[in-house]
Symmetry: C2
Subunit: 183 residues, 2 copies
DNA sequence: CGATGCATGTAAGCTGTTACATGATTGC
DNA sequence: GCAATCATGTAACAGCTTACATGCATCG
């Protein structure tokens, strides 16, 4: 158990937050929450999550208790006092310039160079994108409704942000489509 | 020079696109474009870009020509025919479900767990975020105007997408702020 | 009694970062 | 002549991924 508070990585912060929300819960539960949410981009593969939580345990940020009533050897996780301090610090580091502008978008990255495709391919490409994005938007909306009904205010506000960004991206793709068709 | 077309990474694709746009140009120029643009999140550190371009050269995707009139030993880059094919393929892979939903946002990640902060700290935090985001939005708008005047249509459309996302995020933060103040 | 889901992990690798290091050119 | 910018790189490492591996529990 180290003594100084270390800066948490993104996945560490999110995972710790989930543990805190559902504690006591298993690592599996954390993973399920990450996978199920359309608002986070994390794959949260077993290969990253389990070692990550072990590390947090070694540092005294989470505490584990083996669940003896369970034959699968599962462990129940809780955030320690020290862990709650780490979590607070992680949340507070969001108000920093590097986090403001760091929203990657692989579709936008490609838009800059869309002219390498033939006009016909550009149109097909955009049509596919818009159709996929519409599907994604409706999934995001469904998820938002579910969270809304659950009464989880912060979960709702987070998911709302995800939805607004998807809406903006879809709107943008339609603008691009109109612009490239009339040319 | 390998024979089969390899899938390009994000930074490889973007860098190759930039070379294609400004060729013949130096690696330094590519790096400057990446750093200057508020629409890409890439740091494009020397430590990633130079080895990356060397790799693309070894694979016959870009061709280099030493500029003998320059004492700094700079090299001029061009996209090869083979490279243009790679670039086309990279652009076309954008229409794929994994790219649709993969927009990370460290601020949104934290919003889900904002309740770990005291109400007073939540308000301060949001106020700081909104002020930083407004500044970022105005920078993005300035950049968009510049690109617009340059006549680069695809550059404009890409930057437009970046701006729309920033607008959506700012709008979202204001909704959150109202919601948390009235509570 | 077999499929699906719960539950935990290891090994290898990809993609990018920061920090460090070097040297020439250009403009004031 | 000195500072800022141009120009290119190496070394170490952070952070996450995929692919693989294992085994119990629950439901039909």
């Amino acid at each position: 158990m180290a003594n100084s508070l270390r800066k948490l990585s993104e996945l560490e912060g999110v995972s710790l937050g989930i543990v805190g929300k559902y504690e006591p819960c298993t690592a599996y539960r954390v993973r399920s929450e990450l996978k199920q949410s359309p608002s986070t981009h994390w794959q949260a593969s077993a290969g990253s999550l389990y070692p990550l939580l072990t590390r947090l345990e070694e540092e005294g940020i989470v505490a584990t208790k083996p669940d003896k009533s369970d034959g699968r050897g599962r462990k129940l996780l809780k955030v320690t006092t020290r862990g709650r301090k780490s979590l607070k610090e992680w949340v507070a580091t969001g108000a920093d310039e590097t986090h403001i502008s760091s929203v990657t978008d692989p579709i936008r990255s490609r838009m800059f160079f869309l002219d390498v495709l033939s006009p016909a391919k550009q149109r097909t490409y955009l049509a596919v994108l818009i159709s996929l994005m519409e599907k994604h938007l409706s999934e995001t909306r469904t998820h938002l409704d579910e969270v809304s009904e659950s009464g989880d205010v912060y979960g709702y506000l987070g998911s709302l942000g995800a939805m607004k960004v998807v809406e903006a991206r879809l709107d943008w793709l339609k603008v691009v489509q109109r612009r490239l068709i009339t040319d």
